[in-house]
């Protein structure tokens, strides 16, 4: 009996039959980028490990990061980071009760999207400029 009652408990929305809106898309993206960033966290540890291992290992790590495959990975990682950061702050504001009206939710959603792209672009311009000075 316990099982049959349990079966009627509400489920998370089925993503396949759910009409995509800005609100739901950003919510899914928050979890998606979160998962990507978990991989990024593992990479951070590997980067510190390479630094601790010595110049040869660090050189190999740097070689991978600056290889096209590494750069594409960093691109995905940096966008995920800035998105998760901006949308995370949006979540924190909701937690204290700010911006709950639907028009506000949509507006702040678009702001998050715009700022994620701007910050990612800014970070890459800075990185490329510094790379040219330092190398």
């Amino acid at each position: 009996m316990r099982d049959s009652l349990k079966a009627r408990r509400p489920l998370s929305p089925h993503l396949q039959v759910y009409k995509i809106q800005i609100t739901s898309l950003l919510s899914i993206l928050h979890r998606g980028t979160g998962m990507v960033l978990y991989g990024g966290a593992v990479f951070c540890t590997l980067w510190f490990l390479a630094l601790a291992e010595g110049s040869e290992t660090y050189g190999a790590m740097q070689g991978f990061l600056l290889h096209p495959v590494g750069l594409i990975m960093l691109m995905g990682l940096s966008f995920s980071f800035f998105y998760h950061l901006c949308n995370g702050m949006r979540h924190l504001l909701w937690d204290v009760g700010i911006g709950y009206d639907l028009p506000d939710v949509r507006k702040s959603g678009w702001l998050v999207v715009i700022f994620s792209f701007l910050l990612t672009g800014f970070a890459w311009i800075l990185g490329i400029m510094l790379g040219e000075i330092l190398s």
Partner: protein, 125 residues
């Protein structure tokens, strides 16, 4: 002796009494990570193209080591909490769910300690 079962137990709707702690810690780690992750990102943008000695020197001050250790600890704490919710929400098979939950916990602990030990090694040597 009680002959009746509590309704919330019978329906399987009882609270585990540990959700609030998870919820609060997820937010506390998130807030702490705002400045820390921005700090690390700025440092990484400079270091990614810089020579090895440059990175070693960066990690030679007590402040950089402190922030780096906190950063590594908090990304794995926050990341573990987030991954846990994702497995709990989307993996229906109980045994797979448990394997993923325990696996994530082990991986997070391992990677956090490995990162912190690496940071300390650079600082000490």
């Amino acid at each position: 002796m009680k002959f009746e079962t509590d309704v919330h137990v019978a329906r399987g709707l009882g609270s585990a009494k540990s959700g609030v702690h998870h919820w609060i810690i997820q937010r506390v780690t998130a807030i702490a990570l705002i400045p820390l992750s921005l700090w690390f990102t700025c440092a990484f943008i400079v270091l990614v193209t810089a020579p090895y000695e440059y990175a070693r020197e960066w990690l030679s001050t007590p402040w950089a080591v402190t922030f780096s250790i906190l950063f590594i600890f908090l990304i794995f704490y926050h990341g573990y909490l987030g991954m846990r919710v994702i497995w709990e929400d989307y993996v229906p098979q109980t045994s797979t769910k448990w394997a993923l939950l325990i696996g994530t916990k082990i991986l997070s602990t391992l990677m956090a300690v490995l990162g912190i030990v690496s940071i300390l090694k650079v600082f000490i040597s």
